[in-house]
Symmetry: C2
Subunit: 361 residues, 2 copies
Amino acid sequence: MSKSPFLLDTKSVSYVIGEGALALSEKRLKKYRRIIILVDENTEKHCLPVFRKHLPDIDINQVVVIKSGEKQKNLDQSIYIWDKLTKQKVARDALFINLGGGVVTDIGGFVASTYKRGVSFINYPTTLLGMADAAIGGKTGIDFEGYKNQVGLFANPVSVVIDPIFLHTLEDIQWQSGFAEVMKYGLIMDRDLWYILAGKNYRDIDEWNNIITRAARDKIDIVQYDALEKGIRKNLNFGHTIGHAIESHYLNRDHPVTHGQAIAAGMICETWISSRIFEMDCTRTQEIVSMIDLNFSKFDLTEDMIPELIDLMRQDKKVREGKLKFSLIRKLGKATHDVEVDFDLIVDSLKYYINRHVTSE
Amino acid sequence: MSKSPFLLDTKSVSYVIGEGALALSEKRLKKYRRIIILVDENTEKHCLPVFRKHLPDIDINQVVVIKSGEKQKNLDQSIYIWDKLTKQKVARDALFINLGGGVVTDIGGFVASTYKRGVSFINYPTTLLGMADAAIGGKTGIDFEGYKNQVGLFANPVSVVIDPIFLHTLEDIQWQSGFAEVMKYGLIMDRDLWYILAGKNYRDIDEWNNIITRAARDKIDIVQYDALEKGIRKNLNFGHTIGHAIESHYLNRDHPVTHGQAIAAGMICETWISSRIFEMDCTRTQEIVSMIDLNFSKFDLTEDMIPELIDLMRQDKKVREGKLKFSLIRKLGKATHDVEVDFDLIVDSLKYYINRHVTSE
């Protein structure tokens, strides 16, 4: 695999991906007179020094620090940031940098694209999840009243700079969280990626530069074709319809789980649904479920939680004409979107998840 | 002038303008399974019955009522609407209708385009200001910490339906407010419109269908060329740099004035600045100022308020590289944007406004 960063200038977004991407982004940053950088408590401590070290000639005019965690992806923190920008009289020609994981790029993108009707922003994802997924594709937003990304908009950054150097700052749980999305690309569109990962626990993998470049390109390929999620982009929602409901369920109980943990459970249920609808080979189904089990512990969901989970799904953004449309896999590496699934089958998939016997993590 | 509504389907927005537009919009509304309508306390009372009467076959699934007035164009009201939509489990394929003046279309457009990353919306402006200006062009937003439209985004409605039938519901002060923007089109781009208005008080005008169609077309012409205000659209800001500062000044003192009153005062100052920079004929300058005086009372600004007004201007979205760029008129019906104006000259224009002797309204 090439060691040089992968560059892709699309009509609207410039992507710089791979080892060395950070330093390469200097030229673009120098175009701006004023730079504001958004971090959370963790990335302020662990990532901002790395950013400064590799970009010593870039003046940062203001650092805005928010609390870390999905619980913080809310309106109060948005107000906090809008207020900081307003008080500092930041003008519309400034640049806003999001340095962090999915929470920072989601909320930062939302605030930047609504402050004075939009200032330019650049995403520097620092987590595996951010690099492989959240920082790419222009989905911005915050959670509202217990619903994920209930308020937000599609707004592309001018650039996404993905440098695996930040991965060294991650804790184990963050590696795990991102790993769910990486596996997802294998399942929905990239068999070769799946075979790189298959049979491995994420802790035993070392070729991350290769994997991240591959996963990011997969996502870019999709969002290039379908920025607004009218068609093929919906394939990325595999595992997310049930996964988001599980994530919201725990978030509402003040017991947040990582996005990846929730999506991993969602992918088990939705693989099971896929196998029912598309008659997928049962060895294949087992292979997929085992691979997820190898990397994620099972949640202690119980059958009495199912009605609440179903109710949460009804609020999903993917509801059209009152019906829940799923993105499912037809076979390994091939997905289909807008598959209408009966609520009975969804309930059965949750029962399958709950009653399954798992021996190891 | 033709009595039939003027229809214009652009790539992204369908405009229906003129007497009868309301009934003509039925076909489009019928495409939606679920319709939510946003009104304020006034338009609920005076305009919603007119809407229902002319569109008897349209089912409105939910009416959301907000308080009226510019003071209400804030985040609290946005939260109130997001909450109503969330509680009612409104899906992304619903239609959101804004029935009201500039406050309703601004806040409604903002909330609709950020709820679940965007639901479609249609503007039905009910005020002269809304019809001639606010409902057209995709600027959405709310005021924040005393600054006008500090939070918002560019998001186009799928359609704008302008029917002068709603004008019958207006109070005198709302006619006056819209009249400032109508005069503005005359000054910046439409001499013929100016001559229709010249020498008249708005209370003595009756050919509103003609005037509104003309003003709306002027605005559409501009936003079609330059949706994101990179160039020619900035001409629409004539009167608004100083006008917005005056509007914010009174808003902050809990003594709100109408947008039109503030812009009228702004246009006097900026006409004076124009005359200094472009050596406009002094008879012409007097003619313009007199026409504004004929329609708007003078504010009781004093010289000690000037520093605060200047400070408010520094927060203007039109600030680029720390400098304030004005849109000015070179001669009647011709404007120029991005003219850098020294702060001294801005101060002098405010002094001119303050010390001017006005005999009549």
